[in-house]
Each structure stands twice: as C-alpha cells, then as structure tokens.
C-alpha cells in the first residue's frame, strides 16, 4: 500500500495518527456527499428542509404565543374567532353537519375537509367559552341552540337562531347524516363529487 511507503514510515506516530484521521475524514465527507447527492435525498433537502429553514427566517421574529397559534391554526381560526367574539359561555353553539358545509361551501374547506368542525377540535380551541351541541342531541336540547354556521352564497356566516329561522335551519341540517365525518380532504372530495 502506498501509504506505507518508506517516507510515510518515518513520520512520528502522533502525526501519523492524524494522517489516518484525515484520510477517514475525506472518506466520511465523501460518504455524506454521496448520500446527500442521491436524487431523492437531494430533492428532500432542497425542497422540504430548505422550506423549513425559510419558514424559520420568516416566522422566528414572531414570539408571541397568540400569533404562533394564529399561524398554526390558520384554517380553523377565522371560524373559532367568530364564535369566540359573538358567543357567551351560556350560549349554545350548534355544530352544523359536516356534510352540509362540504355540500354547500366545498371550495372554502377543500384543503381541510372541514376538520375544524370536528367536535373535539372545537372543544380544544373553544373550551367552555360556549356550550357545544351536535346534531345527534335530543330535540329538546337542540331547541336551546342559540348560534350555528350557515352558508349563504358560498360564504359561511355565524347565524343567530330566531323563532322564524329555526325551523328552516333545523330542517336543512336534518337532511344530512350527523354521524358522517370526512377526516381527510380526499374523503370530503369523494362525498362532494357523489350525487346529492
């Protein structure tokens, strides 16, 4: 082996140790470079990982907890904030059937499948700031509902129940299966594209 040439053998052991280390270093650098050069790894690093670093550059200045929540729950917060602003702890918010929103305002929620509508997600965000009711509650309990979401011209509004609109809203909501839930956007899309 050339490394064991006469000249190399005259080098003091300590320096020689470092020569070995240096050779290994060249090998390890080469190995890391090869692994990172492989197409899928390269794509992952230049796409996902560098996107995460750009995200950090953009967001790291925001240290406020509320701002960070807002950024994280960007899909749910417009609706959560609306309920928070308009409802009191003794109000009853009726969770509309998810199918109702998918059928009538699919475009608004197609990226989430309206996951924010899931009862435990609403409870996670809202806690006791409002009483949640779902469509499987008894009729007498449903009568207590004070607010819900209603779709009008492809937009979602917070509706306050009045004597005149209650039968219309309840009648419309009861057309949809309350037990159905699309956990993924794909499931929501499948339902949306199925016949009404």
């Amino acid at each position: 082996m050339s490394i064991l040439s006469e000249r190399f053998l005259t080098i003091p052991p300590r320096r020689r140790y470092w020569y070995v280390q240096l050779m290994y270093l060249i090998v390890s650098c080469t190995l890391v470079s090869i692994v990172l050069w492989l197409p899928l790894n390269r794509e992952w690093l230049s796409d996902s990982i560098s996107r995460f670093y750009s995200q950090r550059e953009r967001l790291d200045q925001k240290t406020d907890v509320a701002e960070r929540r807002q950024e994280g729950y960007v899909q749910a917060y417009p609706y959560i904030d609306l309920i928070r602003q308009r409802c009191q702890p003794n109000d009853y918010f009726l969770i509309p059937p998810q199918r109702y929103l998918i059928r009538n305002a699919y475009k608004l929620g197609r990226s989430t499948g309206y996951n924010w509508l899931y009862p435990s997600v609403l409870y996670y965000h809202l806690g006791k700031s409002v009483q949640l009711l779902d469509m499987t509650a008894s009729d007498s309990l449903l009568q207590r509902a004070t607010h819900t979401f209603w779709v009008f011209e492809n937009k979602i509004f917070l509706l306050t129940f009045k004597e005149h609109n209650r039968p219309l809203v309840m009648g419309e909501f009861k057309k949809y299966d309350p037990h159905f839930f699309a956990y993924t956007p794909e499931q929501a899309r499948t339902y949306y594209k199925s016949k009404p």
């Binding site: 080098i11 390890s28 190995l31 990172l36 960070r68 929540r69 435990s120 009711l133 037990h179």
Partner: protein, 470 residues
C-alpha cells in the same frame, strides 16, 4: 430556556440515571446518557397519576416537588456504583473522532430545524389535538386528570376519536412540559419533550452502533436512516408513534444485549423499556410476545423452568401498564362515554387468507416500498442484507430479523382484525419500529462486522508500523 423547563429536564434525566446506573445495561458513557434521559421520560410520566390518586392538583408546585423527590430517590440508587460510573465516564469514552464531524454536522442541521419547528408551532396533527393534547390542555387548565373532556365533552358528542383513550405517555409528557412552560415563551406548547426524546434516542442508537461497528460505518448507516422524510416529520409533530418506536427499539436492543451478555440486569432494563413502549401505544403488547418467544427459545436449552419464568416475567411486566390504563384507569377511575368502542374486533368477510395477503400487499406497496416516505433507507437495508446473505451465510443477528418479520406479520393481522387500524396511518407510522430495527440489524451483520475488522486492522497495522520504524 426557562428555569422551570431546565429543572424538569434535569430531574427527568436524574430519575432515569439512578435507575440505569444501578441496572448497568450499558458500558459506554454516551449510551448511558441517552438511555437515562429516555428512562427518566418514561418514569416521570407516572407522576401525574400519583398526584391524581393522592388528590393533589395537577399543578406546577406539586409536580415539581414530585419530580424532585423521584430524582432524589433515584440518586440513592447510585450508592456503590462509583467504579462502574468511573469506567463509563472515562474521558476516552467521550472521544469524538475528527471524521465523525461531517455526520454530526449533517444531523445537527436536521435536528436544529426539527427542534425549531417543534417548539415554534402549536400542536397541529388532528390525532394529537383530539387526543393527548386535548387531555393534557384541560388537565392543566382544570388541575385534574378527570377533566371536563371526560366528564362533559366526550359524553355529549356522537363523533369522537379513540385518541383520548389511546395511551397515556404522550398526554402525560404534554402535561409536565405545559406546566413547566406555564403557557409562555418559546416552549409554551409543551412539545419540548419530543425534541429531548429524539436527541436521547439518537444518542443511544448511534453510541450503541459505534460500539459494535466502526464509527465510519455507524455514521453512514445513521445518515441513511436520518434521510427518511416520514421519520423526520414526526420528530417535530407530536404523536405516539415516534416515542413508541424509540422505547420499543431500545427494548429490543437491550434484549439483544442480554442474549449476548446474559446479565439479569440487562434483561430487567429491556423489560422496563418494553413496558414503557406498551404505556405509549396499547397494541404494542402484541409485539412484545415476539420478545417473550425469543427469550423462551434462547433460555430453553439451559433451563426450561427459567425459560418459562423469564418469558412470563417479560409478558406480565408489559401487561401491567396495559391493564392499568385500559381497565383500572379508563374503565375503573374514569367513566367511559357509552358510545366508546375501544379495540373492537371486526369480522372478516370473504376468504380469510386472500384478505390477509391483500393487506400485506398494500403494506408492501403503499408503505414499505414508498420512496417518498423513506427515500433510500429501506432500499439500502434490502441491498446490504442481500449482500450480507450472498457473501456470508451466517446467523448473526437472526433474532433481529425475526423481530422485523414478526412485527410485519402481526401488523397485517392487527389491521385485519382491529377496527380503526389501517395501512395508511397505523402501519405507516408503526413502520418506524421496523425501520429502526432494520438499521440495528445492519450493525449486527457479518458484512459490517468484517468491514469493521478490516478497518481496525488497517489502522492498527498503519500505526504499529510507525512504532516499529521508530
């Protein structure tokens, strides 16, 4: 980092350190450090239950007193362990070679952004915010584990996930870290434990590998493994699967050590980690049976009686957290909503084996060989394993292959029989266990052992030639 968060991490480490120093399952300082942190995370997750049963509030002060007491008790176990600790923490044990720096640099690059994402964002995965973090947030807010989630919310809604009933470890870590952060600062969302756990497991995994094969090869293997996008994603998304895989794989690694060194304390440490894995994900108990069977088979030749005893001990120890959570706490202490169906078995219609093989086919096509999830890590495993078997037909590391195939086989049965278990979610994330084991196996193969021997011989020869010449 706030003082309270630092206190929590230090006490968790000390809790694990005392126990592990007494059990002595490892001989290297880096392995002991990683393992101690993991054990501390596991043991401290029991503390909220102790407070709950003692009618103490789930609040910062009682929790910190409890952590302090546990750490002090654990440190008492250090008595008489001085010689062991001196050897384990000898300076030589911590030496990092120059050539390891490129690997360490790359992992640091990945870990840094993972840690930032983990800390900066609130909990985002659906399963987490309707499961462990829902329980943790309300337990902290209402100062009790029996919060309004169990008493008011879940009984009043018809659609709810089984995530709140899944397993307690993740929720308990969230509780501890939410209390420590107090809702403010960088770590306000209580997710720091995930980064701590990933670091601790990574440290142990790498230290264990470089103990058996040349650090150059260990670095290469861990780098291949690190380039698995799906595995990486869950280093900053709080779920049960990464933690479950980490604790389970540590159990397998320690059990393998026990097969090599036959030290009873190593078996005890392995049992402890298997029990924690069951504490993290309930269905893990099914996979532990593979370990019990291997333990039985290994010990059978020396003593059939002891073989039964050891296998039973492992199974019973892992059943304890399973029974405590599912039957004592959930069905005894907490009243489950009437519509809860936990672990319901589903009937199989049509030909049993056709269905089963369809599931295995789907597992292979959509998860195992899915490049987007694992990049080259699975292909590298398959390539190196084929090379190993082509050149050396040795049985080296055979128990690890049995683990891999056994887990794969059981996952198919689980998906077929348990309602809610599926390939795209349950198996995809359950695959983390298999992936870690694949790389643990590679470190055991004759192929890597031979290359290691060749490298060390070359080093020795090169350096000794110098001495002779001098």
């Amino acid at each position: 980092m706030t003082l309270s968060v630092a206190y929590l991490i230090v006490t968790q480490f000390l809790i694990g350190f005392g126990v592990l120093a007494r059990l002595r399952p490892v001989t290297k300082g880096l392995s002991l450090l990683g393992l101690s942190m993991l054990a501390g995370l596991g043991i401290s997750s029991v503390l909220p239950f102790v407070l709950q049963f003692a009618h103490a509030p789930i609040a910062r002060f009682p929790m910190f007193i409890g952590l302090g007491l546990l750490a002090a008790l654990s440190l008492l176990l250090l008595r008489g362990q001085f010689t062991y600790l001196r050897d384990v923490f000898a300076r030589k044990q911590f030496m990092v070679h120059l050539y390891e720096l490129p690997f360490l640099g790359f992992w640091a690059y990945l870990l840094f952004i993972s840690a930032w994402k983990c800390a900066w964002y609130p909990n985002l995965p659906f399963d987490t915010i309707v499961g462990p973090d829902l329980i943790a947030t309300f337990a902290v807010r209402e100062r009790t584990l029996i919060s309004s989630v169990f008493t008011a919310h879940l009984p009043s809604v018809s659609v709810f996930s089984n995530q709140p009933f899944y397993a307690p470890f993740t929720a308990m870590q969230q509780i501890l870290y939410l209390l420590a952060a107090g809702g403010i600062g960088t770590f306000a969302f209580g997710k720091l434990w995930l980064t701590v756990m990933v670091l601790a497991f990574g440290l142990f995994f790498y230290a264990d590998m470089r103990e058996r094969i040349h650090p150059l090869l260990a670095g290469l293997l861990v780098t291949m493994l690190a380039c698995s996008p799906e595995l990486f994603a869950y280093t900053f998304l709080v779920q049960t699967d990464w933690a479950n895989a980490a604790f389970f794989v540590v159990g397998v690694m320690l059990l393998q050590r026990y097969f090599d060194d036959s030290q009873r304390s190593t078996l005890l440490a392995a049992t402890l980690f298997f029990a924690f894995a069951c504490w993290i994900r309930t269905e893990t108990i099914l996979f532990v049976f593979i370990g019990s069977a291997l333990l039985f088979a290994k010990s059978l030749r020396s003593s059939p009686g002891k073989a039964v005893l050891k296998a039973s001990m492992l199974t019973v120890a892992c059943l304890l957290p399973f029974i405590f959570w599912n039957y004592i706490f959930l069905r005894g202490y907490v009243v489950l909503p009437a519509s809860t169906h936990l672990g319901t078995l589903q009937t199989v219609s049509g030909n049993y084996f056709t269905n089963l093989f369809t599931i295995y086919g789907k597992m292979t096509d959509t998860v195992l060989l899915h490049d987007t999830y694992w990049n080259y890590s699975v292909w590298a495993f398959l390539a190196f394993t084929t090379l190993n078997f082509s050149f050396f037909r040795s049985k080296q590391g055979l128990p690890i292959l049995i683990w891999i195939l056994g887990i794969y086989g059981l996952f198919g049965l689980l998906i077929m029989h348990i309602e809610g278990a599926n390939v795209p979610f349950t198996f995809r994330r359950g695959f983390f266990k298999i992936l870690f084991l694949m790389y643990f196996y590679l470190g055991y193969t004759t192929l890597f052992q031979r290359i290691t021997n060749w490298l060390f011989q070359w080093e020795e020869k090169t350096l000794s030639q110098a001495s002779i010449n001098l």
